[in-house]
Symmetry: C2
Subunit: 479 residues, 2 copies
């Protein structure tokens, strides 16, 4: 492990985080809140820590994939540690456990909250809380389209060729180039959403915060009642549209913005993604339509919750725990699907679910014709053997981790629904789950140990499982 | 498909089933019940159907693997259809849905019941009900150790070399030889259990019925309170011992009986099986020990329920739904493990869980060393590539079917716990589940469609998933 180089990069990232903490300050001042002080102090501590780390280490050797895993995992952890300072220093979230949980939930674009009353927070903190989503989303897009393909994690090597950029063997130049392109796309679409939300009557502050939450498929709101608080059909549909956009591969958006609109409909994963939303909408509607008096409202609410869960956003406009068991079970399983690869959506990802189905079909054909060669394809592309086993490995690990998590949470005294819901919602980076962590509840009551476990699950789920798990393997640390 | 040959074999099996229906009659007569009439009529219908089928078809061509799948699947279905006749004709289970569910539950060694009061059934029917378990268990042992290895289902080819016998390429002679050996072992151990249970004060009738339920890891009892009705520490521990024996690979018992006792402890799967029981016992004890006043009783009850669930038997001596959430969740996940391959236990099987763990570890090592070759091993044996992908395929299909089942059951109005519990308990062939199908409940209240779905899940789970699923594939039916 080239520790110096790793710490060097992490320090550079911290300087960047410190600067980012200054952004909420104008809102704090505008609304006459006092939280700008906590933000200033936090920004200071974070940047100085970064600067110290930066100058005390040197980037003496280039990075190998091995260092990549460490930078990504420890990057998210250090961002969450320093990012919780504004909450701690201001006193609005007085314990490290809660502040770390909330910030990890932000940077992993999960959206699970320990706050029982969001609206008492001053504007600077609310902005920072939502802004952690947006920064996390930036990280995820670059991670999934530029870094993980080279690390070979979770079959992401399938997407190596998706984004243009120099195809050098060394990681750094390609990542930088790709990152610039993708971030422009991300920023441009975010701008569009902010403007559209302001047309719907939101203040600039609310529009920005909810854009951050949508584009990162995060789910933090500035209101206790989430998007439901705005009670606007227009806003609901704008958010639905942008949740779908955020759940789509950003490489496709890049192509569309450069003129190739049709690339969406040549993409097998995107078509499968829309089909999943469509089918889930119909199946949930069978139940919800009997519960609403006005069909357009039923459509609006059903579509919103389905899209919110599939894309792993977690915004709410209706309490699906008041719906039938079939709808709840449906939404629960949707939590395991998630967005497209290369989107900000979490969980297993649509393409992996697709590959799992194709793999099962290929195994059935292979039983009928034992000597046939039956490759798994996505569209016309044959999935290479190592990408396939990596996807299978990730799925199995995801399931095993889920089981482990539910056992731990039940061991801490949570009932079955809550244990299942809390682990699914954190591992899949959704936010609200089932039982006592449903859409109208929060994670405040979870025992301290449970909050740390769930925070770890957010990180593991967000970083495609293996990026984190690999650091626990002895073979990783062997020279 | 060589239909004539398939029907010919199925008819032969029906003649055998018809004869088997005569066995309960002495008990009916001894206890002065009237159900011998229904049993006689059923035996007549079944044998005559078998004889007709046998003489109207001829075994004109030898069997290929393709026909193997059909014989196994339709064999279990026709046994369950004809096997439900005694319940229907006697009127004790008046509807085909319920009678078929109960009989399929018997032959698949599941043990889920639709009876709300078992004890009103006459002795002949009770004996037949338990006897379907024992016959199903006979079928499963031969299926898993002699037939499936040649069909390449679920990685069972790993065990091709486990049992001695002629190694001809054609299926029939080898199966016949292997079956004889294994059935002798099965009968011998069953005899031992019957004698031991009679020492504990059971009547011959109860001892036989509970031996059938134990040795097949079935779980049908003659009492409403299951094994708890006998309230005997001795009987509890005898049943615990024989549940473990029934959950162990019968090839190991064969070796032990021919002098090689040590083969148990050279077997990786068996050691892993005992470890799972040990760890589960300890984890559940943490909760149960706080709930009992007398520690020996806590040990006895905890060990019994853990072994009963891991081996997929489903007998009960305590209501685990009165235990803590952690115990219930633990037992729920144990339902997915099951016994050893080549045992009468159901679910995924210990060896597959072991292979899944080893596969995940190998994927992690492969991420650290992308060019390393990291084979998955069981003990010293490298798992061949096709056996590995088959195991992965079965696991994924099992999980997908579980999700599908829970969605269907929730769609029929079952609550989350009951939907999860009923599907896990039927797909894994356990019997009692969670929620409203817990250890003190029954399946009577499930809507008709739900009973058929669950019966299908029992069959799919019992026949290692692919044996049934393959028949739904278009490529199977193509010439």
């Amino acid at each position: 492990m080239r520790v110096q180089s790793v710490v060097h990069i992490l320090s550079l990232l911290l300087i960047f985080e410190g600067i980012a903490m200054l952004l909420p300050i104008p809102f704090s001042l505008y609304y006459g809140d006092m939280d700008y002080i906590a933000l200033l102090i936090s920004a200071g501590i974070t940047s100085v820590s970064g600067i110290l780390g930066f100058f005390l280490t040197k980037f003496d050797q280039d990075l190998r994939p091995k260092e990549g895993f460490a930078i990504v995992t420890f990057g998210w952890i250090s961002f969450s540690l320093f990012g919780s300072l504004p909450f701690l220093i201001s006193g609005y979230i007085p314990t490290l456990t809660d502040a770390f949980f909330e910030t990890m939930s932000g940077f992993t674009t999960t959206g699970a909250t320990i706050l029982t009353n969001i609206e008492i927070l001053p504007h600077g903190l609310l902005f920072w809380r939502s802004f952690t989503h947006w920064l996390g989303g930036m990280g995820i897009i670059v991670l999934s389209l530029a870094i993980l393909p080279f690390l070979g994690v979770g079959g992401m090597q399938l997407f190596k060729a998706e984004v243009p950029g120099p195809t050098a063997d060394r990681l750094t130049p390609r990542i930088t180039e790709t990152a610039k392109i993708l971030w422009s796309v991300y920023a441009l679409i975010s701008l569009a959403e902010t403007v559209l939300l302001m047309f719907g009557g939101m203040s600039l502050f609310d529009a920005l915060c909810h854009t951050f939450g949508t584009m990162a498929t995060g789910g933090f709101s500035t209101r206790n009642a989430s998007i439901g608080a705005f009670d606007s059909m227009y806003i609901d549909y704008v958010i639905i549209l942008f949740m779908i956009i955020a759940g789509t591969n950003f490489a496709l958006h890049y192509r569309a913005l450069t003129g190739d609109i049709k690339s969406y409909f040549r993409n097998t994963e995107f078509k499968f993604f829309l089909s999943i939303i469509g089918i889930a909408f119909i199946l949930v509607s069978i139940d919800t339509f009997t519960r609403y008096n006005v069909i357009p409202v039923a459509i609006q609410d059903t579509l919103f919750q389905v899209v919110s869960i599939v894309t792993t956003t977690g915004y709410g406009t209706a309490d699906y725990e008041m719906w039938g068991f079939s709808s709840q079970v449906m939404l629960f399983f949707l939590m395991f699907i998630g967005g497209c690869a290369g989107s900000t959506g979490g969980s297993l990802k649509v393409v992996r679910i697709y590959v799992l189905f194709k793999f099962v079909l290929s195994e059935i054909v292979r039983l009928v014709h034992p000597h046939a060669v039956v490759p798994v394809r996505i569209g016309d592309t044959v999935v290479p053997r190592d990408a396939l086993t990596n996807i299978l490995g990730m799925f199995i690990t995801f399931v095993l981790l889920f089981v482990l998590g539910v056992l731990i949470m039940a061991g801490l005294g949570l009932n079955m629904d809550t244990a299942l819901g809390s682990v699914a919602a954190t591992l899949g980076n959704i936010g609200p789950g089932l039982g006592n962590v449903g859409p109208t509840d929060n994670y405040a009551f979870i025992p301290g140990l449970g909050k740390w476990v769930l925070a770890a699950f957010m990180l593991i789920g967000r970083l495609e499982v293996f990026t984190v798990i690999i650091l626990l393997s002895p073979s990783y640390w062997k020279k």
